[in-house]
Structures are given as C-alpha cells and as structure tokens.
C-alpha cells in the first residue's frame, strides 16, 4: 500500500468534528469516490470521532489518501489516550453501550467501510483505523 498524502487533525471539541468531516469530503471527492461511498465513510467517521470525544477525551485523527494495486482509497485513523476498551469483542456487538447511546457506533462503522482495525489497551488508549476504497463495495 502506498500513502499518497497525509494530514493530521486534532479533535478536542464538537466543532472540530465539522471541520474534520468537511476535510474527508474534500479528499474523497478529489479521488472520485461516489457519493454513496463518501456518505458511508463520513458516517463511519462521525461515529468514531464521537466515541473518541466522549470516551477518550479527544485525540488525533489522520486523513490519508492511499493506493493499493493502483486503486485509491481514504484511510482514517482515530488515536486517543483515553481509558481504552476492556473487551473489544463486546464493544463490537450491536446494541452494546456503556453510555446511553444505541450501541451502533463501532459495529455500524465497521459495516460502512472496507477495512476496520481496532487496537486498544486499558489505561493507554485506543487506535482505530478504517479504509474505504474508491469503488469498493
């Protein structure tokens, strides 16, 4: 996989989320991603960035344009130094939430992207990386 461009955006407050979403849209439009795939990517990003703010106390996001076998895609990383997730497989279950949400955030985000990777260590924080390929199903 080749990284074509990379930028960092810190997320500390809710208003940062709008800026972050707009930037994803710009990047996705630039590589010619369809509107449906853009919407899926942005919705997944919205879920993950909210988790980061709510449970991780904010953090850093990376927006990258990547390419594999000449197919471009957008890779997003969400890195926080929050309390981490004790049981990842439980957190990935539909309907499970420690807050008062619907519990669709993590499993829903996973369904909306092509690749989903989560690493978490209690006490150290959580890193989630997702990829949506330009025309991936």
């Amino acid at each position: 996989m080749i990284v074509l461009s990379k930028e960092k955006l810190p997320i500390q407050k809710e208003q940062d989320v709008i800026l972050f979403r707009n930037r994803i849209k710009e990047v996705a439009t630039k590589i010619g991603m369809s509107l449906v795939n853009q919407t899926k990517l942005m919705t997944a990003a919205s879920e993950l960035v909210r988790n980061m703010l709510r449970y991780g106390g904010g953090g850093i996001t990376h927006i990258e344009v990547v390419s594999r076998n000449s197919i471009p895609g957008v890779r997003l990383s969400f890195i926080d130094q929050g309390p981490g997730i004790a049981d990842i497989s439980l957190a990935m279950k539909d309907g499970y939430s420690t807050g008062k949400s619907l519990g669709l955030g993590l499993p829903g985000a996973k369904r909306l992207v092509n690749e989903f990777d989560i690493k978490s260590e209690p006490g150290k924080g959580t890193t989630i990386t997702i990829i949506r390929w330009k025309n991936g199903l």
Binding site: E14, Q15, V17, I18, R21, N22, K25, L35, V36, Q38, T39, K40, M42, T43, S46, E47, R50, D94, S101, L102, L104, G105, P107, G108, R111, L112
Partner: protein
C-alpha cells in the same frame, strides 16, 4: 449560541436543517422543539433534512426522540427530504428510524400531516356522534 430556527405554520411547526449538526446543536433543537410543541399547541412537526449530508446513530436517535416526545404531546412528526445516499447508509448502519413518519419532500410531508389531523378530527366527530 447557535440555534436551528423553528417556524410556526398554522397548526404545524416547520424545521429546515441547513447546516451540519454537531451533537450539542442537535440536543438544543430537540429541547426547543418540544418546548415549542407545548407552547404553540402544535399538532404536527415537519423536519426537512434535505441539506443534511450525513445522519449517524446520534442524529438518528435525536430524530426518534423528537418523534416519541411529540407523540406523547399529541403531535405527529414527519421527516422529509432524506438524500438517497443517506438512506442507504442508515440502513447499513442498522438504524431503522422506527416511529418516525417520513415523506419524500416538504409538500408531501405537509399533506401527510394534514391527513393525520383530518383523521383525528373525523375520529372526534365520530365520538360526538356516538354520544348523541
């Protein structure tokens, strides 16, 4: 603080969301709307989301909350103008928006609200008839 304007149109309240919502703004809207339903004795709420590019689980929950709160206060809620890409994404996300009435655009949404009120009036008339 930012606020989404709520317009009164006869017995209905009209909300057009023209900006991307962050969570606090959505919560403020939920609050304002329910207070307005009570203050104006509105019979219906129409929410136009045609300018909204994404609806995530939080926004979906807010829409559901507005619908259930209005319902207990005797007002119907119709969400209109959802973009096709948003609908596709919502279903894949696993959100069904149960309890929320939907229509394609503002015009059809208004029609739906009018029908709902009409039905109510007819029911009430029927009730009076049975008393007589």
């Amino acid at each position: 603080m930012d606020r989404i304007p709520i317009l009164k149109m006869g017995p209905f309240l009209l909300v057009t969301i023209q900006v991307d919502l962050y969570d606090r703004l959505a919560l403020t809207l939920e609050n304002d709307l329910i207070n307005m339903v009570s203050k104006t004795e509105a019979k219906g709420v129409l929410i136009d989301i045609s300018a909204v590019s994404i609806v995530d689980s939080f926004m979906g929950r807010i829409l559901g909350n507005i619908a259930s709160m209005s319902k207990i206060m005797d007002a119907a809620t119709v969400v209109v103008g959802m973009q096709p890409a948003v609908a596709i994404t919502l279903v894949e996300l696993g959100l069904t928006l149960s309890g929320v009435h939907t229509a394609l655009d503002v015009e059809q949404g208004m029609e739906l609200l009018r029908t709902k009120i009409g039905q109510q009036d007819a029911d009430e008339e029927g009730l009076y008839d049975s008393f007589i």
